[in-house]
Amino acid sequence: MKVLVPVKQAAVLEGDFELEDGVLDRDSLDWQINEWDEFSVEAGLRLVEAAGGEVVVATVGDEDAEDALRAALAKGADRAVRIWDPVLEDADPLAVAHVLAALVERERPDLVLAGVQSSDAANAATGVALAGLLDWPRVAVVRSIEVEGGSLTVERELEGGAAEVLRLELPALLTVQTGANEPRYANLRAIKQARQKPLEVVDPGALGVDEVALETAAGSRLVSLAAPARGAGATLLQGGAEQVAGQIVEIVRERMAS
């Protein structure tokens, strides 16, 4: 079984960011592997450990995004592919899905496991958009996966804690929810060995995706960024822990009595 896991190096905005004329200074960003992808990588590793095969991790991102790929390789993924062209900076989920679709056509995996969403943009769209472009069956927001022959049995999360168990045929795409499993940690030896594993860098053109196609595929264009209007905002409780707790006690007693 061949499993392709698209991952994302997600941005974390530091407290003292700089925003000028609606443009963010990118030095205000830290990077870490998207939390959801920890679970999709783990799910892929477990399926291949049980059934044999290969886990390929892929990302659309610049050189910094290789950290996410190396982390997955250290955990046991077999090889990695990074797709990049500077025009993909700020690419929206539909453009990213378009690029990934070209990779899936080349790799022909049995299963694609994406995270439900990314911790920075939280579009929750790339995986299902990709399945749409491939015309593959898919299930979004999955918290358990079983493979039997050519079919999958998965549990899809519904709002309010309910779940739906579904069966679908491979090839298929799932978006994996946090908590679906317990992601493993890589040991130092594995982290070192991961440096020897293949990490291929390709540009979209090599996959047959030109700039015009990317522009057509993109679902939106960023006009500007702004700090959110905080509405009325919270009344700040001042002082040290003792004073803060004292005020909380007072508010709680007053509100619970009313």
Binding site: H98, L225, G233, V249
Partner: protein, 321 residues
């Protein structure tokens, strides 16, 4: 040339999703801004039963698509929306940013090369064309998006972003026959209700909620003890439930439970969108977080930028007095 607003209503096991009236409100606003007539589509075997509930002031047309499987099936829903968009060429398609929508709307947008924005908190139609706003960088910033060159733009709206539409309308109602029932690509094996727990956090007047700020599993018991001392019920945000530190029946949020207590005291919860969806209607929200930029402060009535352990220790001491 595309024209009009198409609202995709959502019918769940519990009936028409309340968020559908919010989508209609957004549709009415877009109509007033010149986006064209407002159509609401209901794709469900029971669609007919919900026509009156979506026939609200400003709605021009209600479409019912009833020849579908008895349950929601994402690939059937996708086929229905694709066909409706092809037939009617709406300028804007509105749906909720819900688990159901997430299973098919991104596919509809990608396949049609439409404009697309998910989890949007605002949408407008003006001289600059269609614009949408959504959170960026974990909701710490707001992004304004445009959709150049797109005839149709699909927008998934965050629930609660619009006040529900009200007032009876006088829409034309039409049953639309689409040959899509055989487009299902998943088979339902089972529907599982939420696990019955021994705690009903929806019944509590006072919830003490803990989140990622809690660093060790052993500390959960200490917060449970604190909750007991304060007369509160302990609840949690998703990360602690995912980690297995606390049972799922105590989870507040989109995939957990929606709560409306008198007091919600959040310790070490940054306030992911999915969490805020489950608690923002609490009457009094008090948030303690060491990060002054945590999104929870945007819904809290009282906030303290402080170390949750220090505050918890003080609460323990002062509630003893």
């Amino acid at each position: 040339m595309s024209d009009g607003v198409l609202v995709a209503g959502e019918v769940t096991r519990q009936g028409l999703r309340p968020g559908t009236a919010e989508l209609i409100a957004a549709g009415v606003k877009l109509k007033e801004e010149g986006a064209g007539s407002l159509t609401v589509a209901l794709i469900d075997v029971e669609a007919d039963a919900h026509v009156d509930a979506v026939n609200l002031a400003g709605v021009d047309e209600v479409l019912t698509i009833g020849a579908v499987p008895e349950r929601f099936e994402a690939h059937v829903a996708q086929a229905a929306l694709e066909t409706l968009i092809e037939q009617r060429r709406p300028r804007i398609v509105l749906a909720g940013h819900t688990f159901a929508s997430l299973g098919f709307m991104p596919a509809v947008a990608a396949r049609g090369s439409h404009g697309f924005a998910s989890d949007a908190t605002a949408v407008s139609c003006g001289p600059d064309g269609i614009r949408a706003r959504r959170g960026a960088y974990g909701d710490r910033l707001v992004a304004e998006l445009e959709f150049p060159g797109k005839d149709t733009v699909v927008v998934l709206l965050r629930e609660g972003a619009f006040e529900p539409a009200e007032g009876a309308g006088s829409a034309a109602v039409e049953a639309v026959a689409l040959e899509i029932a055989d487009r299902a690509r998943t088979e339902r094996i089972e529907l599982r209700d939420p696990p019955a727990g021994d705690v009903d956090i929806t019944a509590a007047d006072f919830l003490l909620a803990i989140g990622r700020g809690v660093e060790e599993e052993e500390q959960v018991a200490e917060f449970e003890e604190l909750a007991g001392r304060m007369g509160a019920t302990l609840s949690a945000s998703r990360p602690l439930v995912d980690a297995g530190w606390i049972s799922r029946d105590r989870q507040v949020g989109q995939s957990g439970t929606t709560v409306t207590p008198k007091v919600y005291l959040a310790l070490g919860i940054s306030g992911a969108v999915q969490h805020l969806a489950g608690m923002s209607k609490a009457k009094t929200i008090i948030a303690v977080n060491s990060d002054a930029d945590a999104p929870i402060f945007s819904v809290a009535h009282y906030g303290a930028v402080a170390d949750l352990y220090e505050v918890a220790d003080e609460l323990r001491r002062q509630f003893d007095e």
